[in-house]
Symmetry: C2
Subunit: 141 residues, 2 copies
DNA sequence: CTATTTTGTTTGTACATACAAAATATAAAA
DNA sequence: TTTTATATTTTGTATGTACAAACAAAATAG
């Protein structure tokens, strides 16, 4: 039978890799007490205190509604603070999130090391760039 | 600030592309009345009548519990039938699903054409193969 | 041939994510 | 200055997906 779509279809292969690497990433991020997405969100907020939700949604390529939910959770954990500013909402780090910065960066490095050990450093880095490039082009459609 | 993880981290870039292409795929699959994942599941069942849920879960790289949910929905829509066989469950197509086969294959082609028009046929096909290869290797971990 | 283990499925629950519609707040126009 | 338009966020709701536990059937060991 013809099940070539299992390898030929970018929808399928991209989401498959997404599921696989999410699992690996969650393991590596366990010490942070956060899932990888929340960890990266915190890095952005720590690095750009006062960044708006709109900007965060764009950088992370999630919808504004999703971002609202993320910030709700981080706020509940006292990891960020909201400040309304005109029609935007700015997001600020807390002491607690600044303390987590190092742990998150370490988890991120561990994740990279883990998959690079399997896929090779060169090729996994190249793959990541190709993926970003592809999504940027498709988002323009 | 250092937000290089937005391009260097395979967790992030794979899932980003996954979100982007899922949206495109859902548009192209709209005429089938199914989301892409369900469409591909039906193609597998049509091509291998009596395939077990375990085999389907492996081919699609989702967990067995997820597959149960998928089959529940397709069964409710009269698009597949279950038949218990020992501790396994075999899944069979219905007339309705066989009628949909052509529509699904067309949607799949349209999806491929849509992203190939943006990314290039060669490079999008190569990317898809790289993605599958990467997930196969990471799933061995 | 019974007791234990393994394998496959289902169910309860939880989270990430999206879309559409509603709410909010500023900016622009009249 | 009141009205209208626009940008941002939030809320309601829905789907995909996972894990852990429960369950059922089969395989294996004693």
């Amino acid at each position: 039978m013809n099940d070539s779509f299992l390898r030929d279809c970018l929808f399928f292969t991209a989401n498959r890799l997404g599921r696989t690497i999410t699992k690996l990433a969650e393991e590596q991020f366990a010490p942070t007490g956060l899932t990888p997405m929340y960890g990266y969100l915190l890095l952005l907020v720590n690095g750009l205190p006062g960044i708006t939700q709109k900007e965060l949604a764009e950088k992370l390529s999630v919808t504004p509604s999703t971002l609202t939910r993320f910030v709700d959770k981080l706020e509940a954990k006292k990891l960020v603070e909201r400040q309304v500013s005109g029609k935007s909402v700015q997001v600020f780090p807390t002491d607690k999130s600044r303390e987590l910065e190092g742990t998150i960066r370490q988890a991120s490095r561990n994740l990279h090391d883990a998959y690079a050990a399997v896929l090779g450093t060169e090729s996994s880095d190249a793959l990541s760039i190709d993926l970003l490039q592809a999504s940027l082009e498709l988002e323009k459609m």
